[in-house]
Structures are given as C-alpha cells and as structure tokens.
Symmetry: C2
Subunit: 230 residues, 2 copies
DNA sequence: GCGCCTATACTCTAAATTGGAGTAAGTAAA
DNA sequence: TTTACTTACTCCAATTTAGAGTATAGGCGC
C-alpha cells in the first residue's frame, strides 16, 4: 500500500471534512462540486476512501439499508491533521485541457463550418457550466446549500468559476465573430490585421526576444507536496 | 496495437503538420506551445510518434549527427486526412485542475498565512505564464515566430491565453485582498457580506431551486471522437 | 402483488498514462 | 582532459482511467 497522499486524496478528505458521507453520496457530490476543479474517475474515489480508511485518516462505518450494506465515512483527527499539513505545502499550478485550441491551430486544414461548429460546442459547454454556476449561486441565496455556513469561503470559489467562464465565453463569442467575418480560412490578407490585434493584447512584452530562451527540459511538472520537483 | 486515436495523437499530428521535427524537438516545442492547453508526459510523445508512424500517419526518417541517430518525422497525406476528419468530430469540453481551489474550501482548518501563501503561489504562477505570453506576443511582433505565417490563427490563441490569465490573476488579487481584510478565518460576521457579494456575481439564476436537481450519474465524461459518450 | 424502471452501492479489470530512471553520444568551457 | 550540459531517446513500475458487471432497494402503474 502506497503511503504517499495525492491531491485526489486531499480532495476526498476535504469533502468528507464537511460532514460524513457514504461513498456513493461522495461520488455524487463530487460530480456536482469538484468536477470542474479536480475531475477524477469514479473508481478512483472508491479506491481512495479505502486507502484513506486503512491509513486511519477516515473512519468507515458499515451501515445497512435492508440487506444492502453501505459504508459511511467520516474524517478522523488524524485526517484533519493531514489536511492542515497539506495546506502549508506548495500547491500545484493551475492546468487545463482545452482540445478546441488544438483544433484552432489546424483549422485551415478543414472547413470554416468545422471550426465554427467546434466553437459552438465550446460556447454551449460554457453556457451549461454557467447555468450550473447560476444554480449554485441561487442555492446560496435561498440559504439551502449543503455548505451554507461556509458562504464566506464558497463565494470566493463561485466568483472564480463565474469569472473564468464569462472570460472563456466572451473569447468564444469574439473569436466566432472574427472567423465568421472571413471569406475562407486562408491567411490571405489576414495576418496584417492579426498583428494589430496581437499588439493590443493586455500583456507586457519583454524588451526584445532575439534568441528565444531555452525552454525547460521536461513537460509540465507539478509540484509535489514535499516541495521537491518531480 | 490500438487503432483508436486520442486527442494526444491529434495534438502531435497538429504539431508535425506545421513542418517536420525530430522527436526531441517535438517534445521541446510541445513544452513551449502545447504545455498549457494539452499537457502530457514526455514519454507519451515518444510512444505516440511511433504509433502514428506505424499507422502511416507520420513518416519517420532516420538521420545521423555523427554516430548518434535521430528520427525526423513529417506528416503524410493520410495524417493530414486524419486531422481533417477529426476537425468535424465532437470536441471534448474545457477542463481544468486547480488544486488551490480545494485548499480554499478547507482553508478554515489551517491558518490565514497558509491560504495567503497558497494564493501568492497562484499569483506567481499566473505571472510566470503571463510573462511567457508576453514573450510569444513579442515573437510575433518581431516577425520571428515559428508559425509566423499563421499569425491570423495564433493571435486568437494568444488572446485566449492572456484573457484567461488576466482573469485568474484579477481573481487572485481580489481574493487575496478580501482574505487579508479578515481578522481570522472563522465565519463570524462574514456570511452576510458574502451573500451580498454572491448576489452581484454576473450570472443568471434559475427561477428557484427547491429541490436540487439530480446530478448526472458519473464523473465528467469527455466526448469521444466517434461521438459516443464514453 | 407483479413487473418494470431507476437509484443505490459498490467491485473488477484491461488499457492507457505518468513519472521517473537509465543509456549513450555529441559539444563547450575550465 | 575532466566536467557539465544537451541531444536523443528506451524502459518500466506504479498509478489512473473508462467502463463493464453485480446485486439490492424502492416507487409506480396496473
């Protein structure tokens, strides 16, 4: 049995810290509230609670509903202590998977309809996530959220989620508008205008870039919790 | 040998489509330009080019630098065709890993210094990514980028990257300011104010949320390229 | 009171993926 | 000439995912 706790371990601990859950409920709640910041497979959660339980960080109690058994987990003092320790360790950086961006890179190989359709899907995904965000917002306003007593913390998270989605949504709209204004996907006469647009992007540029600096040797390396690079 | 192409396969194809690369260069360039939208392990890329090559989507040529061999890959017509087909398939939604958010959820278990330090790390990570974004911007303005002839497409990507980072950065700053204005991390007297703030968040709320709707059964499911759900 | 459907509550496994360790040759600088 | 770094990979154990599979519970229609 591996002893090293992963971020997924802490995510489960954090969830159980709110109050006891059965594994099934944990998975359901996870879908609802952790899906967007730390998406992991269902089976991984079932595996994780067992591990945490065997390490004494969670306390699992067998219950029965008729003949069917279920295990309800609560956090132990040792588990809470592990969380406290984790809070002081280096955090892994924000990372994302955004397939649509790769599509955009090779869009000129395909048709305008294809890339427009891809961006429509992104727009719809963002709308769906925003709908969910609105629902969570309403739950708090109605005072019926599971973590109602933690609004002062959760509000910060909802703010993040909604700001990010609005940004992605706005980008999608203006990109769609730009592409739809084109006759085709060829570069003809578009690069001039693009350079103007790129010049206006709100970010500082370095003095000059004669030689592009050597990139780091390996792929994105997340920080480990002992502070060493992996 | 599995026949199913993954998004990573297409990401590699998309990269080679620009022009031929040795695997080593591919990995280096990947770190530079794909790291932030589709981060994958180095070894996965070495595996992938071999697979794509054996499937006839890439053409690998052995070269020699002194006694040391290296393989340079270029895309085949079949590979280009595969990309074209992929462009018409459903795209997997935007997804992220954001450990700091989980930290925030359980922040009251630890100290104010801990959560402030975590947010400082996020701010620094964002700054570093923005610095990189500024560098890419400057490369295009200087006319020396590898994909200079594709500015009209790449500008859209740089726009995305910078907008997103500015949003994350701004959130980090205001969250830091909010938390630093607190005496401690207890809920005392903070929830009232938080509800006001949550009310102002720019997202529509549903009519009402009496029963929270049943969440989908499983974890985040990415769309597969044959259109079926996985 | 029976059949059907959906929800609960998991377990199991093949396949994929990751995070390194390891090997070896070229190149530059002290 | 020794050392250090870069290029150019291969290999593998351990983890993780995606999904199939198993079985009970409970509500609803008829």
């Amino acid at each position: 049995m591996a002893e090293q706790l992963t971020t997924t371990s802490y995510a489960v601990l954090a969830q159980v810290a709110v109050h006891p859950w059965s594994t099934y409920e944990l998975v359901q709640q996870r879908v609802r509230y952790f899906r967007y910041v730390w998406p992991r497979a269902e089976s991984a959660i079932y595996r994780e609670v067992k591990r945490l339980s065997s390490m004494g960080l969670l306390d699992g109690r067998k219950e029965h509903v008729g003949k069917r058994a279920r295990t309800v987990y609560s956090i132990t003092e040792k588990g809470r202590e592990a969380l406290r320790e984790w809070l002081g360790a280096p955090v892994s950086p924000f990372a994302m998977d955004f397939e649509a961006m790769i599509r955009l890179f090779v869009a000129p190989l395909g048709t305008k309809e294809q890339i427009v359709s891809t961006l429509h899907q992104v727009r719809d995904d963002v709308r769906e996530m925003l709908r969910f965000g609105g629902e969570v917002k309403q739950e708090f306003l109605d005072g019926i959220a599971v973590t109602q007593d933690q609004v002062y913390i959760r509000a910060l998270a909802v703010d993040f989620f909604i700001s990010l989605l609005n940004t992605v949504g706005a980008w999608t709209e203006r990109t769609l508008a730009e592409i739809e204004s084109w006759d085709d996907l060829s570069p003809d006469g578009k690069n001039e205008r693009a350079l103007e647009k790129i010049r206006e992007l709100p970010v500082a540029t370095p003095e000059s870039v004669e030689r592009t600096p050597v990139p780091p040797r390996t792929q994105l390396q997340r920080r480990r919790h002992d502070g060493r690079s992996v």
